[in-house]
């Protein structure tokens, strides 16, 4: 593991890790904030923006993120729009991951029996209270494993930012491998970093799930 002892490589890995963390956290937070109003809006049977959201979700899930990033960073300048590397990576990754989160949360809402909504109405609950107290907690309980899984996907997806001239963790590993030829050693070191980030997310998932199982059965 003498790769870890070289100060140049240490610095590269550290800078890459910081960049990976920044991108991952921003993408996870922004995507999860955007998704709740979208998912609730999609519960309406009719709505002007329904078609727009369905179209967005379709495109974002059908097109590979790699192609989106390429178009945002290398393609937009042809239309006179110049985005710096980090903003273009953030926009592309948030665009893609929000569509996935939307599907998970929508599916959560849709598996709540319609009778509960009627019951809430019959009890005189206002729409806000119905959502806050009845619908949202249940939708999240069902969607949680997928949402947490997707958060990990976002961390892994941040590695695609290396395409648009960002030196994150995977880019750093590419440089070190091309100088040391020690692919497996470098990859193991890098996967430990990704594991540690994911461990934080999985710990949050367990904390959430243990709260949920309490009182069941």
């Amino acid at each position: 593991m003498n790769i870890l002892l070289d100060p140049t490589y240490q610095q590269m890995l550290f800078d890459g890790l910081v960049m990976t963390l920044i991108i991952s956290v921003v993408v996870i937070v922004v995507s999860n904030i955007l998704v709740l109003p979208l998912a609730i809006y999609m519960q309406r049977p009719k709505g002007v923006f329904r078609g727009v959201i369905v179209g967005y979700s379709f495109f974002a899930r059908a097109a590979p993120v790699l192609a989106l990033l390429f178009a945002l960073y290398y393609g937009l300048p042809r239309l006179g729009i110049y985005l710096e590397p980090v903003p273009s990576a953030l926009i592309g990754l948030i665009f893609a991951s929000t569509a996935y989160n939307l599907e998970f949360l929508r599916s959560g809402f849709e598996s709540i029996p319609a009778g509960q909504l009627d019951a809430a109405k019959a009890l005189g609950l206002r729409p806000f209270a119905t959502y806050w107290k009845v619908m949202i907690p249940q939708a999240y309980r069902l969607a949680a494993p997928s949402l947490f899984s997707n958060a990990i996907q976002m961390v892994k997806g941040s590695s695609l930012a290396s395409l648009v001239a960002i030196d994150e963790l995977t880019a750093a590993s590419t440089v070190i491998i091309s100088e040391t030829y020690k692919a497996i050693e470098v990859l193991l070191v890098v996967s430990v970093f990704y594991l540690l980030i994911a461990a934080v997310i999985i710990a949050l998932q367990y904390a959430y799930e243990s709260r949920q199982t309490f009182g069941r059965r």
Binding site: R61, A62, Y74, Y100, E103, P113, P145, Y194, L195
Partner: protein, 214 residues
């Protein structure tokens, strides 16, 4: 346009390979993901269950490219050569199982445990309770998360281009390098992905038949 026509046969072959690999990975992930989610049902603190959790945690945490390289480069070092396609299937199936396990586990939680206990109390064998009672209920519940992940698998297959599997993005990258027409190729590639993924997305939009489960 001429460029597009010259490269189209190779791109279509690549699309077929992408579909075939995705189908194999999808099947392996779904079958083993479902089986693992049923192991020690209701005994979440058991040692075996913790082992499965650890497996799932590892393979959904490490980027696919890293897992792929570990098999591709690591194989020959321990005397087994999986080859590019073999390494791709093993790596993506392991990651897929880890993910599908989570999705099915989530769906299983939405079903009251009492159903399982009732089934056993009626004297039904465990396998019948699983196959006739639980699985028919968790499949529709899990469908959305499960198919959504499968769609991701089709697109993530592009990562296999790093080990010279001739899937869509690999041929696209070669086309870009050979012709300097990046946007023609990216448009074609995105078009192909949309064609492949649309049937899955449409299937996923259908309303789940939840009335059956209740």
């Amino acid at each position: 346009m001429e460029i597009a026509i010259a490269w189209l046969p190779r791109l279509l072959t690549a699309a077929v390979l992408t579909i075939a690999l995705s189908a194999v990975v999808f099947t392996l992930s779904a079958v083993f993901g479902l089986l693992l989610s049923l192991v020690h049902y209701g005994r979440e603190k058991s040692l075996l269950r913790r082992g499965i959790e650890a497996f799932s945690a590892f393979f959904r945490s490490v980027p696919e490219l890293v897992v792929l390289f570990l098999f591709f480069f690591g194989g020959p070092q321990i005397g087994v050569d999986f080859g590019p396609v073999g390494s791709t299937i093993i790596a993506f199936a392991l990651v897929g199982i880890a993910f599908d396990y989570q999705v099915f586990k989530g769906a299983l939680k939405a079903i009251p445990f009492g159903q399982y206990e009732a089934g056993l109390a009626l004297g039904l064998p465990k396998s019948v309770v699983f196959l006739r009672v639980l699985v028919p209920q968790i499949l529709p519940l899990a469908r959305k998360g499960w198919i959504t992940y499968a769609i991701g698998t089709v697109k993530r297959m592009s990562i296999a281009s790093a080990v010279s599997v001739s899937e869509i993005l690999y041929v696209t990258k070669q086309g870009i390098a050979a012709t300097n027409a990046p946007f023609t190729f990216l448009t074609l590639a995105v078009g192909l992905y949309i064609l492949i993924v649309t049937p899955l997305l449409v299937f996923n939009e259908r309303k789940p038949r939840q009335a059956v489960a209740r």
